[in-house]
């Protein structure tokens, strides 16, 4: 009897897992069909020397790890570009995450003109997308007014007589640690970049804040929690899973727009060195995935899920 019971339980759970598998089958087919092939091809390219045949098509000569060794030992700028890209990423991610959470909380309150404000904060999402960005690139170079880029900002700060160096000096004289001062000054200098890079994150956070049941806030109010306590005990834990999403998106976004990807792209399509380009893509993708795995695991440990 006991055995029989166990057996039926097993098949039930297996049945359930089968049903769950059905949900992801379309994606699995798509992945195997469209992505796996390109992953294998990229890997293959990275291990070989690719020459494009004159009539179309290509030939591969297996060279082993030569491309990897070349990228790290001999290539002029790859290492530098890689480290600066990763460094920028690590600086930007916490700034953008906290900034967008703050703005989302401001926008989530009820106030007059909220629709207008939300529409304005949505604009960076449109402005940062490819087609408009390409069209804007031409216009940005001719734009005189407005804060269109970090370059314009620097020019403006010079013309308005505000010297960044002066503030750095002042704060370091106050005895603040130099690393912190440079981080803050760098963040302030890039404020327009940060604002423009956090449109997507703000929308994700607004959705997250709205999925918190209002009964939780009622309970907190009845229990006499202050606004500060409500934030740390209700809002923050409930938003935590979405902080992971935002971090993942921010890391990927800053990676996709980083110089490493541009370098890999140029190596492939201007220098026609597909093998080296694939190597660069693989190295940077692996590093980004590694960073993601560490960060996500770190946050996930502190995250509350229902199951």
């Amino acid at each position: 009897m006991g055995e029989k019971k166990k057996k039926t339980k097993l098949t039930l759970s297996r049945k359930r897992s089968m049903k769950g598998f059905l949900f992801i089958v379309p994606w699995l087919i798509g992945f195997l069909w469209f992505y796996l092939r390109s992953l294998i091809m990229t890997f293959q390219f990275s291990l070989s020397d690719l020459t494009v045949a004159p009539g179309g098509g290509y030939t591969l000569d297996f060279v082993g790890l030569d491309n990897f060794l070349y990228a790290f030992r001999a290539h002029g700028s790859f290492k530098q570009v890689l480290t600066t890209s990763v460094g920028d990423m690590l600086i930007d991610v916490p700034l953008i995450t906290f900034f967008s959470l703050m703005v989302a909380m401001l926008l989530n309150r009820k106030f007059k003109g909220r629709t207008l404000m939300r529409a304005i904060f949505f604009l960076p999402v449109i402005l940062n997308s490819e087609a408009i960005l390409a069209a804007m690139k031409v216009s940005a170079s001719m734009m005189m007014g407005g804060l269109s880029s970090a370059g314009a900002e620097v020019a403006e700060s010079v013309s308005s007589g505000v010297s960044v160096q002066y503030y750095v000096q002042m704060f370091s004289n106050l005895g603040l640690p130099m690393g912190l001062v440079e981080y803050v000054v760098g963040a302030v200098g890039r404020i327009s970049d940060i604002i423009n890079a956090s449109g997507v994150q703000i929308i994700i956070f607004i959705a997250a804040l709205q999925s918190i049941p209002s009964s939780m806030y009622e309970v907190a109010k009845i229990e006499g929690a202050t606004a500060y306590e409500t934030f740390w005990k209700v809002t923050f834990p409930m938003v935590m899973p979405h902080i992971i999403t935002v971090v993942v998106y921010t890391v990927v976004d800053s990676f996709v727009n980083s110089d490493v990807v541009t370098l890999a792209y140029n190596t492939a399509f201007s220098e026609k060195n597909y093998g080296l380009s694939s190597t660069m893509s693989i190295i940077s993708t692996v590093i980004t995935c590694g960073i993601l795995a560490i960060v996500v695991r770190f946050i996930q440990k502190r995250t509350f899920y229902y199951n």
Binding site: F21, M117, A131, M142, A207, C289
Partner: protein, 341 residues
């Protein structure tokens, strides 16, 4: 009995603290109440003020370039070279819009682009939410490996998958079936089909990210909802469609907005699959400047720029309108908040 005695004992202590006069006692209590009300009012006022200052400051940084473009799109040639003119044109003209409208073939192209983006958006939301739900709520062998592949899909730079995708759709075939029926495998490049096929298999533009968003949202929902549904005799699919998807409305709207905007503005896949200019606005805006220059014989890049500005505003407009409409759903989501279905 003891309690009563205690109460009587405590009374003298209380009397020491509050004025003996009952009227005075009453007054003092009122005072405290109004005081707290006043401080709260002040607090609310300053918090509101602070919020507005921060929001307006940030909004200025965002709006600066957009306002510049908007203003310049009304500039006439003379305004453009008049250094006295800033933001407000002296001789405003609609000519930029007229020509940009004609060159973009705006009426028909924008409608077809919106139809294209909205149909893809609906497929994205349905497929990605399904996959995200499968990952969030079920256990099956190799789940972790598969989810790692979703992350790889998000991270991998798009140009690395260009070549295989191009080859797949240039000779589109499923196990040689089409080749057997029609004699040769069809070339799908130049049509919109590759995009629909990829999106249907949850591998479209940034699908990995949408799967991730849905996964996180479904994980954040309490399990009791589903259990209640099962107890009430709901099947798996019914539970997903009628209950889980409705509870994930904020996520669905978020994904819908992103998918719409990115699809609308996508140039990468549009170029890769060589989708025709008459379908997509994003491809037209890229060539607007040179087309206007060639057709209307305008050789001054500064003047051409004004046409580009008008074009950018025209391209952005539908998205802003759709967002404002969709975000009303957002607000309704709050009022309904909590568990529904």
């Amino acid at each position: 009995m003891d309690k009563v005695a205690d109460a009587t004992k405590k009374k003298p202590e209380n009397d020491e603290l509050v004025p003996v006069n009952p009227k005075g006692f009453h007054l003092k209590k009122m005072d405290v109440n109004t005081k707290s009300k006043i401080t709260e009012g002040f607090k609310g006022f300053f918090l509101g003020l602070f919020r507005w200052i921060v929001l307006i400051g940030i909004a200025y940084v965002i709006l600066g370039p957009v306002l510049g473009i908007l203003a310049r799109s009304f500039f006439s040639d003379a305004d453009n070279y008049n250094t006295m003119v800033y933001m407000i044109p002296q001789n405003p003209t609609m000519e930029r819009y007229e020509i940009a409208w004609k060159t973009l073939n705006y009426a028909s192209t924008s409608v077809s682009t919106i139809i294209y983006s909205i149909t893809l958006m609906i497929i994205q939301v349905l497929m990605c939410s399904m996959v995200g739900y499968g990952f969030a709520r079920y256990d099956f062998p190799l789940k972790k490996v598969m989810f790692a592949f979703v992350v790889v899909m998000i991270v991998i730079p798009t140009h690395t998958i260009m070549l295989p995708l191009y080859m797949t759709f240039a000779n589109f075939d499923i196990f040689g079936i089409f080749g057997l029926i029609m004699g040769s495998s069809p070339n799908l490049l130049g049509t919109v089909w590759p995009m629909y096929i990829m999106t249907f298999f949850a591998c479209g533009l940034r699908s990995g990210l949408y799967i991730y968003i849905f996964n996180q949202f479904f994980r954040g929902l309490p399990k009791e909802i589903e259990e209640a549904a099962y107890v009430d005799g709901c099947g798996v699919w019914h539970t997903y469609f009628r209950i889980m998807l409705r509870n994930a409305t904020p996520a669905a709207i978020t994904v819908a907005i992103f998918s719409l905007v990115w699809q609308y503005n996508d140039t990468f896949y549009a170029k890769l699959f060589n989708i025709s200019d008459s379908v997509l606005l994003s491809k037209r805006i890229a060539t607007l400047g040179s087309t206007v220059g060639n057709v209307y014989r305008i050789y001054d890049p500064n003047i051409l720029q004004l046409y580009m500005d008008a074009g950018i505003i025209l391209v952005m407009l539908p998205l802003v309108i759709i967002y404002v409409l969709l975000q009303k759903q957002f607000i309704e989501g709050v009022e309904r908040s909590g568990i529904v279905g």
